[in-house]
Amino acid sequence: MMILQTSGLCKRFGGVHVARNIDFGIEKGEIHCLIGPNGAGKSSLFRLILGAHAPDAGTIRFKGEDVTRTPSFARIRKGMSVKFQVPGIFKDLSVRQNLVISFQHHLHGHDLEATIRRVLGFTGLTGLEDQLAGTLSHGRQQWLEIGMAVGVEPSLLLLDEPTAGMSPEETRQTGEMLRELNAQGVTILAVEHDMSFVQQIADRVTVLHFGEIFAQGSVAEIISHPGVAEIYLGASDDE
């Protein structure tokens, strides 16, 4: 069953088509990675799904409901959750405050406290709850944001380069974290650059190129796809 489906999605900024007629779907329960070279339209598609951009044409359905014109905050309330590339945390507030603000519209009292404790444990931030979020290491800030995004058990977790700026060890731990979340039933869409990370977590991969879907399939299929190697993997070898 598709949890999210776009059909004929188009978006252009001036003369640049960042999304051309995109028909794209995410199966319930999978980890789906969105890859492609710089400028392929990954972030634009991500933002279209979130409602941060309005499409010029096409529709977006989430859990069977048309959300094409639904504002971002309402999509979040319907069960989407997001973690940005640059940690989108409240840096001048404590770790605990960050979590309270993230969960308070769903949870209160004991449930809220229990969830905060659970998320602190899950993200390895127990004992740091009174620290200002901005003073955490970069990796921990990323984990805090993942914690903020998953505390209310979203149906679809959207991650924009979740491992950007992380050490290899932190990246590995993040992969485990996402696998665990997925095992608990969270569907995940991740925009990602790091192919080894994609191999670690992805069930299915979609490759974007010039705002179009270039290829789609399992990790093995994508890696063995000759065109993908040319446009993407070849390019990433040069980086």
């Binding site: 979130l50 504002p71 971002s72 905050f73 309402a74 979040i76 309330r77 997001v82 940005f84 989108g88 945390i89 409240f90 840096k91 001048d92 507030l93 404590s94 605990r96 405050q97 309270v100 603000i101 993230s102 308070q104 519209h105 009174d130 903020m148």
Partner: protein, 371 residues
Amino acid sequence: MKPGLSGHPSLVDVAPMARQSALKLWLSRLEGPQTMGRGRGFWTGFALVVLAAAAYPQFADGWTVGNTAYFLVWTFMALGLSVIWGYAGALSFGQTAFFGLAGYAYGVLTINFGAAYGFTLIALVLSVGVAALLALVLGYFMFYGRVTGVFIGIVTLAVTLVFQAFMAQTAGPEWAIGKARLNGFNGMSGMPPLTIPWPGGEIMLYADVALYYVLLGLVVLVYLGLRMLLNAPFGNVLVAIRENPDRAEMLGYEVRRYQLLAFILGGALAGLSGVLYTAWGQYITPSSMSITAAALPVIWVAFGGRKDITATLIGTLIVIAVYQSLTIYGSQYAIVVMGTVLVLTVLFAPEGIVLSAAKRVSRLFGKGRGK
């Protein structure tokens, strides 16, 4: 009763328990992460300050107490600005528009309908409502029109200046609402003070001891009420919006709605100050909406510490007291000093002088903001 509810322990017993726990919840929000001060030490200090303020009229004459009441009049506008600017992160430079509008509304209502049967109190509520309505309309167009940052300051300043310019040209006799002459630049006067109906004769709250007590009570109520509101989920969302509006939206909060609610609250509080000012001195003039008047609340709140209502309250009272003392030597001179205070605050204590000092003291004693 619905069938499913039979067998439930009597609902009659549950309701008071729910009420009790709701009360407990709200009282617990007197302390929290969004307001400075907690624990026995803070509340003992708070009680002592309130007691000292309550005892003060015993040691001063009525005229002086009435003048002190004047200081308290302004605190509501300052607290409101702290909510909009300090907590929700939107600098309004035109709180005086709400102040002036509510002041004039009180004048028009009470000059036309008098003070009998407690009407001045109804007029107070209606006038604050008028200010809140203006805030609703103006805020709706600003926040839903995607006006952000410095432009909020520019739009609100423009509104207060338009109000001032408009009221200043209403000198002719044709500018009257019922019996109330708007009276142009000289302003409206002759409205009754707040009057409380009382068995055995109404209590007219002229600028004297009784008015002082009413204002003191109101300041304490509004201050404690705001503490509870700001430590509630609503306050958390405002702070989230101030810190990172995009993230707040992506956590499922309708940012514009919360900004609008904060703006209405701030507008209503500025309106309350406007009504109390008009009732206190029994006059209101267009200059109360001038650019100088509009700048003063920004200075009080910046000096105290916009991100905390306690710091704002203390800072406002200090600055107004100093400003009043200085105006004895000439108001132009006092305004220059106020400008200097603002510049020095921005340069050396951008969080506010009172707030910075309080943080330093709390670090000394190992106590910070509530968790």
